[in-house]
Subunit: 255 residues, 2 copies
DNA sequence: CTTAACTCCGTATGCCTTACGGAAATACGT
DNA sequence: ACGTATTTCCGTAAGGCATACGGAGTTAAG
């Protein structure tokens, strides 16, 4: 990616023309960049990022492979456009209630988004493509915390904390769902296949806690785990911890 | 993967022979399964999982591509073996001190492991291959919580919480590191390339909080973020939250 | 009505996994 | 001692992938 592609991709993201206003000669484009982006999202929704290919996008648009490259510079830039598009899909509702409510809203918003488009978890991006919807998202996250008593730095740290935890939890949840779908094997079947072999191979009594806790969890969940419940439980602990940070400080401010 | 591969892979993981004790005829194997696993780890360490290929493993061993398949059933099974091998690399120290100390130890142990072998984050696995080192790891995680006053179910939930958060935070950290290494561009340079374009494209004053907090964070970190610090900060909040769960219950037990 | 600009796409390069089958090497059974 | 079953190593081929490059055809500007 050289500078030309950077300019080009930011133009596409912000739907603005910065350089030469693009000549009008030559054949009309058969589809629009938006259609390319939406086709890309459809492919990724259905098959995940590893199976996402430029050819499949082309097929879906009725174009041949190489024509797609006249709309977007390349695969990774298209993915950047898809991400920003998807962030803009659902309105960011105004924040309401106390801090606890606000943060819960932010975390669940992310959680739902990951489940709507699981491939978001497979996009490897520090240094994201900065688009209008991503920018609005960060602003919305910060707005949830504004006025609660955090320093600016703490606001950034808390946003990271929510994001990291939600990302980790969602990734567990989505992996479990995808594994079940793709393999066509339930957790119970999977365990039934492993148990007899493992019994022969493990030293009996070697893992007492795992046995006890694993059994308790297995009976409660009827599965290896319950990702929704883990997310809910973790979020409550996390909120307790964040509230405590403010409680421990506020008395000093008052005195 | 059919049942033959499951048996075979569990045999390899636990270094045990379950079925027929394998005949001794034919040419000797030129390398050992352990060498294959170590070669795989070396490739993954250097290039990451997406670039990890059976051919590169073969090259490193002085074998031709297809010979590797006489040692392990396939790519994903080899990755399973690599994961368990890597988990066994560093001893699990006995847990010491109070709950806070113990959980911190567990979380930092995971954090370090992810940084030692970043490709662990790219292994997509609910339903992991169950090997001896992974089993010992789960037992060790639970042992950190045993006796603190959790129910069995809570023990499982707290382990998930630590894991999810650490995974999310480590993934941010490693992505930042890898991006910097691969691109050869610092965060500052990256921002210097974007800023002038974004200024032209964003409505001025559209993102007041982002501007304020982003500037504060940028000045503090001299980078987009400080993943180590985020991890430390998040872990403290999380520990506060987990401790609170016990504090709120213990008085009832006493009364 | 020429020509510049643009779209669409064929081809080629160089990756990847893994199914299949053949050749060579080895040790067991007799 | 010798045939034969077994095993290893590997060549080939099928069916994927991104993208560089250049050519053919289409359209609008001058």
């Amino acid at each position: 990616m050289e500078n030309g592609d950077l300019d080009r991709t930011l133009e596409l993201l912000w739907r603005r023309t910065l350089g030469t206003p693009q000549g009008r000669r030559g054949p009309k484009q058969r589809v629009s960049v938006d259609e390319v982006i939406r086709a890309g999202i459809a492919v990724a929704d259905e098959e995940g990022l590893p199976a996402f290919s430029m050819r499949k996008v082309a097929d879906r648009l009725g174009l041949k492979l190489m024509s797609v490259y006249t709309y977007v510079p390349g695969r990774s830039e298209l993915i950047g456009l898809m991400v920003d598009e998807v962030i803009g899909e659902v309105e960011h509702p105004p924040h309401e209630g106390d801090l606890r409510n606000r943060i819960t809203g932010v975390a669940r918003h992310m959680w739902d988004e990951f489940h709507r488009h699981p491939w978001l978890l497979q996009v490897e991006s520090s240094r994201p493509w900065i688009g209008p919807n991503g920018s609005e998202r960060y602003e919305w996250h910060l707005a949830a915390l504004e006025g609660a008593g955090f320093t600016d730095l703490e606001m950034d740290l808390v946003v990271s904390l929510i994001g990291d935890f939600t990302k980790g939890a969602a990734s567990t949840s989505i992996l479990a769902r995808r594994t079940a779908e793709r393999s066509g094997i339930t957790d119970a079947d999977w365990w039934a296949m492993h148990a007899p072999i493992l019994e022969r191979v493990m030293t009996p009594g070697a893992y007492p806690l795992s046995g006890r806790v694993g059994t308790a969890a297995g009976e409660e969940y009827n599965a290896i785990g319950d990702p929704d419940r883990s997310f809910g439980f973790g979020l409550e602990r996390l909120l307790d911890g964040v509230e405590l940070l403010l409680k421990n400080r506020k008395p000093r401010d008052v005195s």
